[in-house]
């Protein structure tokens, strides 16, 4: 096999792997580790002070990585 053929095959395999990884990781983002952006806590606290929001304890959560509830 010529050197160019090997290079082509290697690049082809890398492209296929990368495509698969992008699809798989987007799946993970959608369904397992979905989350929104970071909030501005100062603004949130100001809105809580104005009575527009609460910081009420939520149910159904667990510290990350410490087992199921």
């Amino acid at each position: 096999m010529r050197k160019d053929d090997l290079k082509f095959l290697a690049m082809f395999a890398a492209t296929v792997w990368l495509s698969g990884f992008v699809v798989y990781s987007s799946y993970l983002r959608d369904l397992r580790t979905a989350a929104g952006p970071t909030v501005d806590m100062k603004r949130i606290e100001r809105l809580v002070g104005e009575g527009r929001l609460t910081l009420h304890p939520a149910d159904y959560w667990e510290p990350d990585g410490e087992g199921g509830k």
Partner: protein
């Protein structure tokens, strides 16, 4: 993750770093603990909603419910008919009501509402507010109604169901691909939760919004109705609802009335007893007919009741029991 939390309320199970909010927009990791921003802070509060608008056609017909919703949702349906609140951060809302559970129940009683409906956006994401209000409402003789997409984990659903009297649960399509690409969710939890809610004794009605070209395939509708008949029973009412071009699907036309009528025929051919057509004026589309003698049980036009021929939960003509909650 140091200081991270994992929310286990819905199948997304968001993992949140410090000060990060969940996909639903309302649950935030504050100091390694999960908090809700919207407890007692709805952005919509309406004491004049007819129960038929939910839609619930077999639950206290002709009564009013007190409808509330907070900002946020754990799905992102491209067709959302309430996207102004469901896809809104609670911290960006122009107007917020201060209605903690006790004030809300008082307001419902004062306005003569027979029920409180947790609706418009998605009650699952304001779980703690719903649950605490449900308990107080029950104590004061007010019924609880969930209008939901049913995208929730099993344990919290069962907790809500303990105090719920009725639910209208969306089955957006009988296709996992549709849920993933159009709603950013998955089908399996919704099917499971429909079964759980029926088994838990909650009065369940279903809504299927038909969107032209996306979920109007009659074969798929047939398979969906087969599943409903087999797994939930033929007495669960199904509402086919007309899509209006909103949010990210403004390029699609409204659902033709013929499509809704055809879907209704398909559903009834699969053995479902109570199938309705909504958001469109189709003659007889909102009428309840006795599956036994074919007598008109409830005649409706829009949200108005024109005729009511149910006596003590039975058909006034033949005496057959009519499934639902009538008093």
């Amino acid at each position: 993750m140091k200081g991270g939390v994992k929310c286990t309320l819905c199948p997304r199970e968001c993992v949140l770093g410090p000060a990060q909010r969940g996909d639903c927009r309302v649950r935030v990791n504050v100091g390694g603990k999960l908090v809700t921003l919207v407890y007692g802070k709805p952005v919509s509060a309406n004491p004049y909603d007819p129960i038929e608008k939910k839609p619930l056609f077999h639950f206290l017909p002709g009564t009013r419910c007190f409808s509330i919703a907070t900002a946020g949702c754990n799905l992102h349906c491209k067709f959302c008919q309430n996207y102004e609140i469901s896809q809104l951060n609670p911290d960006d809302a122009d107007r917020v009501y201060d209605l903690p559970p006790d004030k809300l129940v008082q307001a419902a009683l004062r306005n003569g509402c027979r029920s409180i409906a947790y609706t418009y956006s998605e009650p699952i994401i304001f779980f703690e507010y719903v649950r605490d209000t449900q308990v107080l409402a029950r104590e004061r003789g007010i019924r609880n109604v969930l209008v939901t997409a049913g995208y929730i984990n099993e344990a919290p659903l069962q907790e809500l169901n303990r105090h719920a009297d009725a639910a209208n649960i969306d089955l957006k399509a009988y296709s996992d691909d549709y849920y993933r690409t159009v709603c950013a969710g998955t089908l399996a939890p919704v099917l499971r939760n429909l079964e759980i809610s029926v088994k838990d004794g909650v009065w369940v009605e279903m809504t299927n919004l038909i969107v032209p070209t996306l979920n109007d395939d009659m074969d798929m509708i047939k398979r969906m109705c087969e599943w409903v008949t087999e797994r939930l029973g033929p007495d669960v009412p199904l509402h086919f609802s007309r899509f209006m071009p909103l949010y990210k699907l403004t390029h699609l036309p409204p659902t033709p009335a013929d499509t809704l009528v055809k879907a209704r025929e398909v559903a009834m051919a699969q053995g479902l007893h109570f199938v309705y057509v909504g958001n469109v004026d189709v003659p007889g589309g909102g009428d309840t007919i006795c599956p036994g003698c074919k007598n008109l049980l409830i005649g409706r036009r829009g949200y108005a009741i024109l005729a009511l021929n149910i006596k003590d939960g039975k058909c006034a003509a033949c005496g057959r029991a009519v499934p639902g909650v009538w008093k």
